[in-house]
Amino acid sequence: MATVAANSATVAHAEEHDHHEPQSFWRTYIFSEDHKTIAKQYLISGIFWSIIGISLSVMFRLQLGFPAMKLDFLRPILGNWINETGKLDPDFYLALVTMHGTIMVFFVLTAGLSGTFSNFLIPLQVGARDMASGFLNMLSYWFFFLASVIMLGSLFIETGPAAGGWVIYPPLSALPQAHKGSELGMTLWLISMALFIVSQLLGGINYITTVINLRTRGMSFSKLPLTIWAFFLTAVLGLISFPVLLSAALLLIFDRSFGTSFYLSEIYIKGEALPNVGGSPILFQHLFWFLGHPEVYIVLLPALGMTSEIIATNSRKPIFGYRAMIASMMGIAFLAFIVWAHHMFVTGMNPFLGSIFMFLTLIIAVPSAVKAFNYITTLWRGNIRFTPAMLFSIGLVSFFISGGLTGIILGNSALDIQLHDTYFVVAHFHLVMGAASAFGLLAGVYHWFPKMFGRMLNEKLGYVHFWLTFIGIYLVFFPMHYIGISGFPRRYYAFTSYDFTKNIFADMNSFISLAAIFTFTAQWIFIWNFVYSMFKGRKAPQNPWKSNTLEWTAPINPGHGNWPGEIPAVYRWAYDYSKPGAKDDFIPQNVPYSQTPESNLPHENELIGLEKEIEAQNLNDQFKQPH
């Protein structure tokens, strides 16, 4: 079966096979089918989007932190969204919140993170020439690009972009008369997201196929680095859940444009009773969160996978509990599908469902706790090198713990009554999903930059970037819990309408805004480092972190097909660090046990006999397929 699939997958490559003459500029850099180029395209798009997404948050933080501030200086960018008195338009405030969420969740942490590292690392770490289908991979990026163009364009139209929150709950999002952001902006949002989902599905199919079919000789599932396990499970999650979001979006498009009533019922708005009856806004919420919750893990799992790799490498220790890590990721991936309604405890959903979903939700804390403990134990008695990637990984673990713990409170339906849709929720998910995944992304960039660009990022700048960002993010989101516990609802333009929010925490909100601006500013250190090092950085050595995984056996600037000759075979797992008896403190995956008799464990000596067998296999090299 696998062989057949691999064969058919290679057909797309037939053309390129063994052609090593340089391709045109367009085929090399723009419409490239090479996974490494596509990864870089995703990375640079992701960085671009993150600048936009974070800028939007800084704008609404100005409103929240300094409600009396004159924002006239933003008029060159925002135009009439700053009114005559220099105040931010309340409609546009909601648009900013909405677009910040949409951009950060989908365009930065899904496309930017998974798109970059799944593309870049899957072929290099499993030992493949490229993705199963380079063409679909290219298509995936360009669908994403098209989605990006439309989403970006929606920021500039007169009625503004979508503004009903990133969850776009109907009827608000379905009725153009209900809100400015539900006019053209919402249409563009839906079109853009539909294209985005297509892009995700094309990418996801490719990741899954590649991991299953194109592993090199000896690379069994039990030898896969945890990064690959994470990307693989992420792709499965996406492939199952994104189509549900597509259907939710399609039905919403029907409701908006073709007069259907999937989500609409008994509505009287703007002096008019609408004819729609029988629909349910709750249906949309179920469909949305059926993606929406797995989405949390779609952004988080790749970050956790990369962190496992980086922490093991830089602690010079095997990751603690390799199998437990896989099992917990599988557990999380499975549970991710059956907890979605914890976002809906107080929507009027049957309380019995609430009980069930509370139970399922709190189970997910167990595999998450196992992961956190395993990271900490990996550090224990290590020999830690604080590369910038390592620092960001440790930061990730801290955010994952701090943000994850408050999930125990929010997952409890009785406690969620008071805290639902308050800043407590905002603080929770920004730490556990936003900051943790962003740190995974940054850790990944610092760690694999040498492989991507053949040069090193400046480490000193990396340290400064880490500490400023790490401190900054805690300063932003830790106090936000306090505001949430005091009952401040989210998505409020101002807190002046209520006695219970009026005269308190104004200073805290200003502080949070200042911390956000501080953190945002610190990111320019990274941007500068990234751009400068891409061209002028120190030349990277072959294996700068003394790492075991396969990508470091490829040339410093891997060309088409990644390895010039044979793809290396794999004999051992990726975590033979500081093995007793070994000469060096790392043994790469492609070193056979027969060459390391001094460090082999008893059961590994028995595996020496299998090496001939492994070497004889050569099913998966796309360059060796008959065609």
Partner: protein, 355 residues
């Protein structure tokens, strides 16, 4: 001590470039880990104590005090976990920093340890789930028979409170197609329970220490009823009425004393984004003792009396029953003939319509 440390720095500094890089920066970063944890923890404790006065504003409902207790119970458990795990993370990072010539332990797994830290969170979770589930079950239980009914209707951008009136505890039927500027909640006047219903957009008055059943609906888009001091939150969904039952056990006046704020007032907010005015959908909630609540209700005029147009919607067979709500002395007296005919027609058919 200091000198030897200095000497070792100088020594590593003069060593190979690579080793130096690992040496100095590594030590600095490792040290920062501990500094960050200690300073961060102090900052967290200080800010917590500072902000604490505003946490979970005084609960004025029994279920609210129960969930507050569970909140602080969960909070203490996660705070312990937070401090312990972060402490280990940062301490290990510092303690096991790179040392030249040192080799890390090859320690790939320990099933016993893994089992322990799988079981402990599982047991703690089970405990929290069980307590949480019991609280949830009680809060979401059916309201008792004698619960006083109110209705809150959300629209862009205010709440409309509807009372079942003085004569019975029944809200009249409604239909969204009947909504207009005279009848903002779409009360259906073919239902005789509607006749004494009255509405308010500025205040919701409820009696203290009496079970309340709040019926919730929305006219246009999603809204969500949030009464912070009562720990009440429930979405208002167009086309799908929702409900929340609770008891308020402190009157507004009592809360003034407890909070020390002479201007204290209960408030109802919206917590589901609903458009431009989402942040200002305030309606005041007044909790008072039963007697003054009854007296207040008696002063209110049924919506029916507000407009002759509404009265004309009453089917002929019920006009007699509606008459007493229309003949309030302040109401501009309708033409005599009309009133008479209502009575006349009503009397004949009223008996027939008894269900």
């Amino acid at each position: 001590m200091v000198i030897s440390r200095m000497a070792s720095v100088v020594q590593t500094a003069s060593g190979p470039v690579d080793e130096d890089r690992i040496g100095m920066s590594n030590r600095l970063n490792a040290g920062m880990m501990v500094v960050f944890f200690v300073v961060g923890l102090i900052a967290a404790i200080w800010s917590f104590l500072h902000a604490r006065q505003f946490f979970l504003p005084e609960a004025a409902s029994p279920h609210g005090r129960h969930t507050d207790f569970l909140f602080w119970l969960s909070m203490s458990i996660i705070t312990v976990a937070f401090i312990v795990t972060n402490a280990l993370l940062f301490f290990f990072a510092w303690r096991y920093q790179y040392r030249p010539g040192h080799k890390a332990s090859y320690y790939p797994e320990n099933h016993k340890l893994e089992l322990i830290w799988t079981v402990i969170p599982a047991v703690v979770m089970a405990l929290l789930v069980f307590t949480g589930w019991r609280a949830w079950r009680d809060i979401m239980a059916e309201a008792p028979e004698n619960a006083q009914v109110f209705e809150l209707v959300g629209k862009q951008f205010n709440w409309i409170a509807r009372y079942p009136g003085v004569d019975n505890n029944k809200l009249g039927a409604f239909n969204y197609k009947l909504i207009d500027s005279n009848n903002e909640t779409g009360i259906d006047y073919t239902d005789e329970s509607s006749f004494d219903d009255f509405v308010s957009t500025s205040e919701l008055h409820i009696p203290v220490n009496k079970p309340i059943l709040l019926k919730i609906r929305a006219r246009d888009v999603l809204h969500s009823v949030f009464i912070p001091h009562l720990r009440v939150k429930m979405d208002a969904v167009p086309g799908m009425p929702t409900r929340f039952q609770f008891t308020a056990d402190k009157t507004t006046d009592e809360m003034k004393n407890i909070t020390g704020n002479p201007n204290f007032t209960y408030e109802i907010a919206c917590t589901e984004v609903c458009g431009q005015g989402h942040f200002s959908m305030r309606i005041r909630l007044v909790v008072e003792d039963e007697a003054s609540w009854q007296a207040w209700c008696k002063e209110q005029k049924p919506l029916l009396s507000s407009s002759p147009e509404l009265a004309s919607r009453i089917p002929a067979n019920l006009k007699a029953k509606a008459a007493k709500y229309l003949s309030a002395p302040e109401t501009a007296a309708p033409a005599d003939t009309t009133t008479a005919s209502i009575v006349k027609n009503g009397e004949t058919v009223a008996t027939a319509s008894v269900r």
